[in-house]
Subunit: 178 residues, 2 copies
């Protein structure tokens, strides 16, 4: 068995060891490539699922933000009905106006619950561009040049975890600069 002897020799030769090692390396790399491939496929699939969910979550977050403010306003609106029902025919204008001020306060508190705060600068407050908007210039005693004389229309700021955001600048009258 010349041939048998040859292959017996070959199995014990260093060349055979090389081939075995290479074959093992091929098997190992094949497994590695497959594993990496399925990791990539899974990551992409997870990503796409997440994208779909994220879009829905974003829509839901917008609606939930809007609803929560709406709900607070709705509760304040109930005060209107109560006020309108409770006011008897003999109420004075003064009494009704007091009621209006109460409702206004109620609505402002409803907004405050959501971080919305009214800005009503006081005379001689520093003028802050962005937060204040000058609609008129007028000198007034005791007010430094360029400073606020009076608030014409209140502004609103939204205070959140991410910082402050001006919803509407307060319209103010400023003293002219020298």
């Amino acid at each position: 068995m010349q041939h048998g002897q040859d292959s017996e020799d070959f199995r014990q030769s260093p060349v055979h060891d090389d081939i075995t090692a290479l074959q093992a390396r091929v098997d190992q790399l094949q497994l590695e490539a497959e594993t990496a491939n399925s990791r990539a496929v899974r990551a992409l699939a997870d990503f796409q699922n997440y994208q779909r969910r994220a879009t829905l979550n974003e829509q839901a977050a917008r609606v939930s933000g809007a609803s929560s403010v709406a709900m607070s306003v709705i509760q304040a609106l109930d005060t209107f009905d109560i006020a309108l029902r409770a006011t008897d025919a003999n109420a004075s204008a003064e009494q009704v106006l007091r009621g209006v001020r109460v409702i206004q306060e109620e609505l402002l508190r409803a907004l405050e619950k959501h971080g919305v705060v009214q800005i009503t600068p006081m005379p001689n407050d520093e003028f802050l561009p962005g937060v204040h908007e000058a609609v008129m210039q007028q000198a007034r005693e005791g007010v430094s040049p360029g400073h606020i004389v009076d608030t014409f229309q209140p502004g609103f700021i939204l205070r959140g975890a991410e910082g402050e955001r001006v919803l509407r600048a307060a319209k103010v009258i400023v003293a002219p600069k020298e």
Copy 2:
């Protein structure tokens, strides 16, 4: 050069061809595994970046939903100031109340802009669980059993692209079932 002759023989042998093929396969698989690995790493990195962004987007969407309703309410609130300023000392209670109703309408319109609609069922309307909440039973002529007699407190519904959502059920008086 016995050894030289040996290696020359070996380079031309079928065993050498096997080793060359295996080596080529190893190189190819190594490249495949690397490519798949970097695809997986990139997909995971993209995914993580997207997750961070999505969380921020969600927060921003909530704030933007809340702010947009708040802005509409703020504009309605201005009407209060105008009303309070414009009302002269001689206004009658009746006139002030009319003003209050105007402001109430204004606020309801502000909410409507965001899909928030008031529910005020009419007498003899069908009672819809979820949309209506029975707070009292009372028989009334002309109202079918189990139907609505009167609205005690209006409800609110949010109409959006995704359908309707009851923000608050309308509190109603229902006629008792037979």
